[in-house]
């Protein structure tokens, strides 16, 4: 056996000179299929966005929709549509943030069960905001976001530390258990904080289950910078996540600074979770489900996986919101309830399918 090519300057040896290098074809074809999937997902997202404007507890005609979108709200139907515009944007933005954060978290922890909801990060953000409202008179989207991100970060560190205790380090199940226990505890704390406060109970309750119903652009805009920062940090971390997927030792051998790679990806995820929770309350399962679906579509390269998880996250949360509006006419179901209905069986499926080995 001989080694045909050796230098990195690109001289080709006898085998690879005449034929195309092995593996290159498959890399090329997978790139093509990824582009096709990208078009499909963008198309679905467009359809979902339109349906989110069209469907609702009030039925409207096409004329009302055009009028509502272009800023007219003289009739009730037009006003209903106009209200659905920021709501659709919010669902898409929050869904994208959660999908992206979930994919990043699964990469950072090499844990197929990682999700901003399951790891307790969203509930931590939520507890921080509720405490801020009840005890410190917190108000305004921007201060909500700072507080939520801080709560998310503290919770992420806490849950990871708890799961790391004992033998074997932070295994997938230990992380999920630590996160779920933390979620339950924080949820009780929130109830304890809110219950004696009749004055804030209503505003906190709708926000806390996870709602996009009260969306206005005034609430969304201040949070956008945070989302952009979280998005950029996450995307820059994608290559590091690819190395981390091979285990810390191999990653270090490939020249990855493991602690920095893990830290930056986690930071991006935490910022996204905090911002998403500040906007819409703690919504679970979006970040759990979609990275798994996207891995089937585009493979395990995080440079594709993260954007796809964001796009499909936007689709899922918008669909969940539309479904919530339609199934309970004339009332509405909160979007967090719909994602839980979709996500909980999926969680069980993942646990059963792969006996929860590390990613």
């Amino acid at each position: 056996m001989t080694i045909s090519t050796t230098s990195s300057t690109g001289t080709t040896g006898s085998t690879s000179g005449s034929t195309r290098p092995a593996g290159a074809d498959s890399l090329r074809s997978s790139r093509r299929s990824r582009v096709v999937w990208l078009l499909v997902v963008v198309g679905v997202l467009a359809c979902v966005a339109v349906s989110s404007l069209v469907l609702g507890s009030r039925q409207v005609g096409w004329g009302d929709i055009v009028a509502g979108v272009t800023g007219h709200d003289t009739t009730i139907a037009e006003a209903a549509v106009a209200k659905r515009v920021p709501r659709t944007v919010l669902a898409m933005v929050v869904g994208a943030a959660l999908g992206l954060a979930g994919a990043a978290m699964q990469g950072v922890t090499r844990n197929p069960l990682a999700d901003p909801g399951i790891l307790g990060v969203n509930m931590g953000a939520s507890l921080a905001v509720v405490t801020g409202i009840a005890w410190f008179g917190l108000s305004g989207a921007q201060s909500f976001t700072w507080v939520a991100i801080t709560g998310a970060a503290v919770t992420a560190v806490f849950v990871y530390a708890v799961a790391s205790m004992g033998r074997g380090g932070p295994t997938p199940l230990k992380l999920a258990l630590a996160g779920t226990a933390t979620t339950a505890a924080f949820s009780s704390f929130i109830t304890a904080v809110v219950l004696p406060r009749g004055d804030i109970a209503d505003s906190v309750r709708s926000w806390q289950i996870g709602g996009v119903g009260g969306a206005t652009f005034d609430r969304i805009l201040p949070v956008v910078p945070f989302l952009v920062v979280g998005l950029l940090v996450s995307v820059v971390s994608a290559r590091g996540l690819n190395s981390l997927a091979l285990g810390d030792d191999v990653a270090a051998g490939l020249g990855e600074r493991v602690a920095i790679a893990r830290g930056s990806a986690a930071l991006g995820a935490v910022v996204l979770c905090g911002a998403a929770t500040a906007l819409a309350g703690p919504i679970g399962f979006v970040g759990l489900v979609l990275p798994h679906v996207c891995r089937l579509l585009v493979g395990i390269d995080h440079r594709w996986l993260l954007p796809f998880s964001a796009l499909t996250g936007a689709c899922l949360l918008t669909v969940a919101d539309v479904v919530g509006r339609v199934v309970a006419r004339p009332g509405e179901l909160d979007v967090g309830i719909i994602t839980a209905i979709i996500g909980a069986p999926f969680f069980i499926y993942i646990v059963r399918r792969q006996k929860v080995r590390a990613l």
Binding site: M1, T2, I3, S4, T5, T6, S8, T9, G10, T11, T12, G13, T15, S16, P21, A22, G23, A24, S26, L27, R110, V236, R239, N242, S243, A245, L246, G247, D249, V250, A252, G253, L254, G255, E256, R257, R295, G299, I300, D301, Q354, R357, A358, L359
Partner: protein, 276 residues
Amino acid sequence: MTTDHRLVAQQLTLGYRERTVIEGLDLEVPPGQITAIVGANACGKSTLLRSLSRLLAPTHGQVLLDGKQVHRLPAKELARTLGLLPQSPIAPEGIAVSDLVGRGRTPHQGMFSRWSSDDDVAVAAALDATQTAELADRPVDELSGGQRQRVWIAMALAQQTDLLLLDEPTTFLDVSHQVEVLDLLTDLNRSRGTTIVMVLHDLNLAARYADRLIAIAGGTVHSSGEPRDVLTEDMVRAVFGLDSQIITDPTSERPLMLPLGRHGVVGSTADGRRSQ
């Protein structure tokens, strides 16, 4: 083609928390050769390899690559010179062979740079050398243990480093795959001049394939040098606490260690005492 990168350990002390595993160890890796580190279980040979490959920072002393401390070198720069294959590495679920081997190109790529034709060539050469080209599209999960190990070595080859450190590359492989892997590493050493350092469990395979043995005992180097000088009955007794007989392997003219247990040796009695 030979490389002349010098990897040296000076007064190296290594440990986890308060437990010291290696103490005051000096070591020089001969460039362009195959070095095998041998020793009893838990003697610190894997710990030593981890430190040589910058995974573990020393408590005292230093590891120098061409006179510079490996722990201070920029991570990517180091990864273009020194490659590393840990014991039983994990492949992410569903990753294809060509994809995994391509990850070996990471240190040669910038933050946003695209896959280059150099990368194609390096991956093809690595698949070729390890005879894994026909597996290129298969998921790594579906491969046998021997195939999987060849794929991981292909990833390390794609990294195109002049030094390659491997922690027990033959673990969990049956004897034919062990020989296959060691043959492959020898090819690599002979044709590219890659300096190879590996921890090996099997003394006889180590003696056959390595140019140089380093025996570790009591947290430091017991002996090092050519296999015929290192693999002696005294060394086996001191390092492994085992009586043995060393003969010359007729197929390789390298030393061959025959363990003398209490049973299974001509002249041993029923209660396992040897009559002499």
